[in-house]
């Protein structure tokens, strides 16, 4: 049974992570460049990007690992958050674009002033995004509304299992195609890029980058705590009960559809906030982030890290992406084979992911000690999840 209060190990882990991300790394980054311990802004932003992916992975795990809903379209919500903040960033470029007009570049060459003459070329739905508060609110409500509508229709129709996965994948693919269209007023294939400032801070400045990194770290820690609280509450028990046997929960008198809808919306909001912090750090958002393979990748991070745990997705997202960054630079010709082999090995031999390795090792040891072959293979669920 999962404890409601944080365990000692969790508290220590959180404290160490907090000191690392809020004190040590920013300080190392603030050192002069000539200093041997100087951490480049490039590396710090790269870490910030991994942390955004970790938030995304947590949202996938909340659905898949805890509720049994394998969403293959979580990157749609990640991208929606990215677009919402991207629109704000786009409007803050001002006259620093290629055409030196107040209108974003792509609106100039697509001749938006002809299409939207009353607003000087800016599509009406873009206008409120000049305000940060509106963009920030949109990061929350836009994915929430999309998830609520889709989830309501899907769960009310009792769409389950693989059918639910396929539908989520179709949803993100449809959105991807829609955003690809230049007529859709979100920059088409090129998406939104060449941002200059956020809330008046220069995006190229190291201090802004540090701020964004710390904001991402804070988001990850808050997300972790929220997920921790959610999954260890009474709600979390029902969540896991739905995962293990939805019909039983249903016949016990619970409206499972409502529970699932709630988790789906919460996960969408989490992914969206992660996406919003992703965009200013990588500098671009475009429809390819909604492509189906991106959402599949997020599921792989969770699988590698260990689903049904909260630390697993974080380890998986950071680990796999670090390996990808490393391998695409060091062995660019073979990185796909390395990652592919890792995924195969993990699913074949470590079904519980990285976090499951210690218990697997323990089980192996016990088997070795007893010198018997009758011990069953490790179950798919970790001991604490067993009913």
């Amino acid at each position: 049974m999962m404890k409601k209060t944080l365990s000692k190990a969790e508290l220590i882990g959180l404290a160490v992570a907090g000191v690392l991300v809020f004190l040590v790394l920013p300080l190392l980054n603030a050192l002069p460049e000539s200093h041997p311990l100087h951490l480049t802004t490039f590396t710090l932003s790269l870490l910030g990007k991994y942390l955004c992916y970790a938030v995304l992975a947590l949202s996938v795990d909340l659905l898949w690992g805890y509720t049994g809903l394998l969403s293959l379209g979580q990157c749609l919500f990640f991208s929606l958050g990215g677009y919402a903040l991207g629109m704000y960033l786009m409007l803050k470029i001002g006259t620093r674009g290629q055409y030196h007009t107040n209108l974003p570049d792509f609106m100039v060459f697509l001749e938006f002033p002809k299409r939207f003459p009353t607003t000087g070329g800016l599509p009406p739905h873009w206008i409120p995004f000049q305000h940060f508060w509106f963009a920030a609110a949109a990061i929350i409500w836009v994915p929430a509304v999309v998830a609520a509508i889709f989830g309501f229709l899907a769960f009310r129709s009792r769409i389950k299992g693989v059918y639910f996965s396929i539908l989520t994948q179709a949803l993100t693919y449809a959105a991807c195609l829609m955003f690809f269209r230049n007529d859709f007023t979100f920059g088409g294939n090129n998406g939104l890029t060449d941002f200059k400032e956020i809330l008046g801070f220069d995006l190229n400045a190291a201090s802004t980058r540090r701020g964004l990194f710390m904001a991402t770290a804070a988001l990850l820690i808050i997300t972790y705590l929220v997920c921790r609280w959610l999954t260890s509450s009474r709600f979390g028990k029902i969540q896991r009960a739905i995962r293990d046997s939805e019909n039983r929960v249903l016949f016990s008198g619970y409206a499972t559809a409502n529970f699932k809808l709630f988790v789906f919306v919460v996960a969408a909001i989490i992914a969206s906030i992660g996406g919003a912090l992703f965009v200013p750090q990588v500098g671009i958002i475009n429809p390819s982030e909604m492509a189906t393979d991106k959402s599949l990748e997020a599921v792989v991070w969770v699988a590698v890290g260990g689903r049904g745990t909260l630390i697993g997705p974080i380890l998986g997202a950071i680990g796999v992406n670090w390996l990808k960054s490393y391998a695409t630079h060091t062995v660019p010709e073979y990185w796909l084979f390395i990652l592919g082999a890792l995924f195969i090995v993990m699913t074949l031999f470590f079904p519980k992911g990285i976090v499951g390795i210690p218990s697997q090792v323990r089980a192996l040891k016990a088997r070795w000690n007893r010198q018997s072959v009758s011990v069953a293979a490790p179950a798919a669920l970790s001991p604490e999840e067993k009913p």
Binding site: F42, Q98, F109, F180, G283
Partner: protein
């Protein structure tokens, strides 16, 4: 333990020594092309030709006495990864220059990075213009070096009706917008210009081809295609099935070069036209040498380089030209410093396979333009050579 430590230390010292030694007689140069993902099929060829060019230059003593040491990364057709890899090349590897990018979105993604760190990028693939960064040199064909001359050729050929079909992304959109204005200025009526876009990976061209058939029924019609990649297969198949040929309605494609023909059924494309600043079938001595040397290099090329049925094409040629222009500018500046090289680049000329090319103040080339007709063997027969055209990224400067 006691024995191990001195070993490690001496090993580290030797390594450090080797590193500083190699740092003295080599210069690091980045290659930023997708080696995996959707763009790999096109971009891998550019990585290959860059490696070939580096070997060519290194064999003659390198640049400023330093051998070029390529740093290859794989941005994997993933646009945020392009930005990450570009930043890594500039910050971690501290490369002197980067050759890379194919799609406009990848260039847009790395542009802020190059401006932030004051890096230097050479971009080799025909594009839509409307951009000018002080940190990018565009050896690529601008719209007035490919689309406009091609349309001029069609007008001279007596064509009066133009059907513009493209994939829905920024290059076709911008090119067609410019062409429409240009055609109108040449007296073509609005009703005789049709503009249509299809999504990426579109396969059903029945309706569009039926429309083209109706459109071209009176003769004097042509199709200007900016369809990219594999959508060309169903398009040309449908085109041929409908009984349309290069005789009654020629298609000029801007995104198809010899390298793309390696993976397309060329029999459906025979007779249709292309317009580039370079064709593999050019017969200049420089081109014969380039093609022969490249083929020779392939035999001894590093592992992972495809050795079969290789060809050269305009983006490959322009990648190579970029390397030579950079080398000349470095030698003129006497330094690898980005600011000095940037200042030395305008005015550099190079005897390229297609003829003399000159880098202009606006970071684009003056380059000869050719019209070619597709042949069954996947090559172009050059049917018209249009002489040198000065590249101009902003359309309002060449559209009067």
């Amino acid at each position: 333990m006691k024995k191990l430590l001195p070993k490690i230390l001496s090993g580290a010292a030797a390594l450090a020594l080797a590193l500083t030694a190699s740092a003295q007689d080599t210069v690091k140069v980045g290659i930023l092309h997708s080696l995996s993902g959707t763009m790999a099929i096109s971009e891998t060829s550019l990585k290959d030709v860059l490696l070939f060019t580096f070997d060519e230059i290194n064999a003659k003593g390198g640049v400023l006495g330093k051998k070029i040491e390529p740093v290859i990364v794989d941005p994997a057709s993933n646009w945020p990864l392009f930005a990450e890899k570009a930043e890594g090349l500039l910050v971690k590897d501290k490369v002197a220059v980067v050759f890379g990018c194919w799609t406009s979105v990848s260039r847009k993604s790395v542009l802020p990075v190059f401006e932030k760190y004051n890096g230097l990028l050479f971009y080799p693939v025909q594009y839509e213009g409307e951009e000018l960064s002080k940190n990018i040199f565009y050896t690529a064909e601008a719209v007035n070096q490919q689309a406009v001359p091609a349309v001029d050729y069609m007008l001279a050929d007596g064509k009066k009706k133009f059907y513009l079909v493209g994939s829905d992304y920024v290059y076709p959109r911008t090119t067609n917008k410019i062409l429409k204005k240009y055609l109108k200025s040449k007296g073509i009526a609005d009703a005789d210009i049709i503009e249509i876009y299809t999504p990426f990976g579109h396969t059903d061209y029945q309706t569009i081809v039926a429309e083209i058939k109706k459109f071209s029924a009176g003769g004097k019609a042509c199709v200007i295609s900016t369809l990219n990649g594999d959508t060309n297969v169903p398009f040309f198949k449908e085109f041929a099935n409908a009984g349309l040929t290069s005789e009654n309605c020629p298609v000029v494609s801007f995104s198809l070069s010899e390298d793309e023909f390696r993976s397309l059924p060329t029999k459906d494309l025979v007779g249709h036209l292309g317009c580039w600043t370079y064709f593999m079938s050019l017969t200049t001595p420089e081109n014969k040498k380039f093609v022969a040397d490249f083929k020779k290099w392939l035999k001894t090329a590093p592992a992972g380089v495809d050795r079969n049925n290789r060809v050269t094409c305009s983006p490959m040629n322009l990648s190579r030209t970029g390397v030579y222009l950079w080398k000349q500018a470095v030698e003129k500046a006497g330094s690898f410093d980005v600011d000095k090289v940037r200042e030395a680049l305008p005015g550099q000329t190079f005897k390229a396979p297609e003829g003399k090319v000159t880098m202009q103040e606006n970071h684009h080339l003056i380059n000869p333009v050719f019209i070619g007709e597709t042949m069954a063997n996947g090559q172009f027969k050059i049917i018209k050579s249009l002489g040198p055209v000065a590249g101009e990224p902003f359309s309002d400067k060449f559209l009067k």
